[in-house]
């Protein structure tokens, strides 16, 4: 673990962050305790870990925080939460699992902590979190079960924009242009035109919606899958072709990190993904494409532009035996001061506090190669929040439907099945799995 350098500025920042937490006014209030936390791998936690010694120094507690690959983390935490066990004190509340974990009563109601003046100073300002990012962290009655540390706004990044220019192309704005651009640049200088990770149920949906399709009929009320409609079949064929023709060999098994590294090393060019995975192309010390990367909004389809947006938060398992300490940790990690420090020192691009997003530090950190990426980020968040097209993703049964989507897209991209057969099978599998989960679907 890399420890932060302690200088005057750091200590002043730390003092500011800790001042917002009343319990930390006492001397080492949690001495001897160990806080166990878990989340999926993200640059945010890499950055935050560097500041752990400050929290440990202030509280006397030890922080044991583990991160795993996205699917591994979700699987483990889903199981851990289902047992209502006490192994974890702080967890990442994953967007696609939020409805399920909150609905099942596996997370602690944080509103009780926020509303208790003895536990939370009003200056911590819970209302400062962007409502769009917080919507997945709340239940129908408005109780909050997590606070967002990341809002994922899907953008497009071309790591080798110079190759686009050399071939007379600019950043594509429509699906047709994206295909034409990929066609023009694929293989030039040994760079594949496109790359994606294997989470097709996240990456494909904007293309599905852009071509007029949808995942469910009317979520969250009507969860009848709509995976075999003509629009869905067309979108699946379109995306499967994109992967098959323009992604690197083995790309179908790429994790988020692998896809990012393919871009950072200049082996792959265009990717549409959450901003967290795209900004390191311009910022990461190992990136070889810092000077050539360009950003743009996700291309639009005939039905419009539907870039994915989501949020992940920090929450406390209902079985945790150190809830007080866990809450102190969440307040510390997501305080305005800490987030500002992370933005200033590391350029973290996905914060969810309005005061931070609209601040100069954020705008400055997200001005990349002269481009105002911060405004692109806000545009996507507003788009997702306004129209509510991301509702499909927070229903409790999305993980199983998402799995059938993943397999359907893989079958198409690897030419195991034509798109219509693959998506009919995905629809049938989704209906079956929803039936097993007790979800009623329409007869059609």
């Amino acid at each position: 673990m890399t420890h932060a350098r302690f200088d005057r500025r750091t200590l002043l920042g730390a003092a500011g962050a800790l001042a917002a937490t009343p319990a930390l006014g006492q001397a080492k209030p949690f001495a001897g305790q160990t806080l166990n936390g878990a989340a999926f791998q993200s640059t945010f936690f890499e950055y935050l870990k560097a500041f752990f010694p400050e929290f440990e120094e202030a509280t006397g507690a030890r922080v044991n925080f583990n991160t795993q690959a996205f699917p591994v983390y979700n699987q483990r935490t889903d199981l851990e939460l289902s047992t209502r066990g006490s192994a974890l004190d702080v967890v990442n509340v994953t967007f696609i699992y939020s409805g399920r974990w909150i609905g099942a009563g596996w997370l602690t109601n944080l509103s009780e902590f926020v509303n208790d003046r003895n536990k939370t100073d009003p200056a911590w300002d819970a209302a400062d979190f962007v409502s769009g990012a917080q919507s997945a962290m709340s239940d129908a009655r408005g109780n909050v079960f997590g606070f967002a540390w990341e809002a994922g706004a899907m953008l497009m990044a071309a790591s080798r924009y110079d190759l686009l220019e050399k071939n007379g192309r600019s950043m594509p704005t429509t699906f047709d242009e994206l295909l034409a651009t990929c066609d023009a640049i694929h293989g030039k200088e040994n760079v594949t035109a496109f790359v994606a990770d294997r989470l097709h149920h996240w990456n494909w949906i904007p293309y599905l919606m852009g071509l007029g399709g949808q995942v469910f009929k009317d979520p969250p009320g009507n969860l009848t899958p709509r995976l075999a409609t003509p629009e869905a079949i067309r979108a699946a064929q379109w995306y499967g072709d994109l992967l098959q023709k323009f992604a690197p060999p083995g790309g179908l098994s790429f994790s988020d990190d692998q896809a990012m590294r393919a871009q950072m090393s200049g082996r792959s060019n265009i990717r549409t993904q959450a901003i967290t995975w795209l900004v390191p192309l311009a910022k990461h010390e190992e990136s070889t494409v810092k000077s050539t990367v360009r950003y743009a909004l996700m291309p639009a389809g005939p039905a419009g532009n539907f870039p994915g947006s989501n949020s992940h938060g920090l929450g406390i398992p209902v079985g945790s035996r150190r809830k007080e300490l866990a809450w102190e940790f969440i307040k510390w990690a997501l305080s305005k001061q800490m987030l500002n420090r992370i933005v200033e020192t590391r350029g973290y691009p996905s914060v969810c506090r309005r005061s931070v997003i609209t601040g100069d530090a954020f705008r400055s950190a997200l001005t990349l190669n002269g481009q105002d990426v911060a405004s692109l980020y806000l545009q996507v968040l507003e788009l997702g929040g306004r129209s509510g097209y991301m509702k499909y993703r927070t229903v409790p049964v999305f993980p199983q439907v998402g799995d059938t989507i993943n397999r359907g897209i893989e079958r198409i991209a690897t030419r195991q099945q034509p798109a219509d057969a693959a998506m009919r099978q995905a629809q049938q599998d989704a209906v079956q799995v929803l039936g097993r989960a007790g979800v009623q679907v329409d007869a059609d």
């Binding site: 060999p249 083995g250 199983q400 397999r407 690897t414």
Partner: protein, 301 residues
Amino acid sequence: MTAHRPQAGFERAKARFFMLCLAPSLAVLALVTLAPALFLVVSSLTPLDLTRPDTVGDFSRPLENYRLMMADGRLANSVWVQAKLSFWTVLLQLLIGFGLALLLNSRTRFLEALRTVFLIPMVLPPIVVAIIWKVIYTPDISPMHWALASLGFEVPSLITDPGWALTAIIIADTWQWFPFTMLMTLAALQMMPQELIDAAKVDGATAWQMTWHVTLPFLKGVLLVAGLFRLIDSIKAFPLIFILTDGGPGSVTEVTNYYSFQQAFNFSLLGYSSAITTVLLAASVLISWAIIRSIGWGHRE
């Protein structure tokens, strides 16, 4: 008769004493093996879903999960994938293990060192083996792909190519477990009576005839037992699939226990997963019993 009475009483007391001594062990054994199995069977009769507390203890439609299984095409596919995986891994591990055991059945220092080297894959943690093969199969970081590319061969990514993905798993599994069959065969070979070999030599048997007519019949029992162990283990194949392919692309490498795992731990459908696992357990027991019967293992002469 009267002379036998004290003897019979003593035997009964001895049996009672043995049973008394055995009872705690049997009770613990029942608790750790039978109780979970019983829970599995009972769960399979409910729609147990961790996210729906009302499904706990709902026995209103006890055979529903089994009925659903009949109509589950993905489950049927997983059984077929499992059959292919088991057949090829067991066959290859037996052939390679047997072949290498024959070659290494000598007491030179070099061969003894080589034996140790061959055992390494078997003692590695399964997850490490999976990561090794993940590196080998990922084109942009794979030494195998670099080497083949430098020789002018363009090889697709084996774990994302539907024609190769299962073969990739079979290769990795065989690499990890052929040492087991090799070890068992070697141990048996070293127990082989010298008279058998001498007699064959006196009869003028060639090396091939010696292997086919003397060594192989002598090793038949060991090879069958090794095959049985590997068959049972192949049904438990998991880490390689989890790390390398996640059951894909599509469902090409999705074996039954992996499918069952997904139902339970990705989707929380514990009842349905229990039903699949119950059937899998019954099938494993049945296959093992059939094989044991066919080779006469445990038969009392």
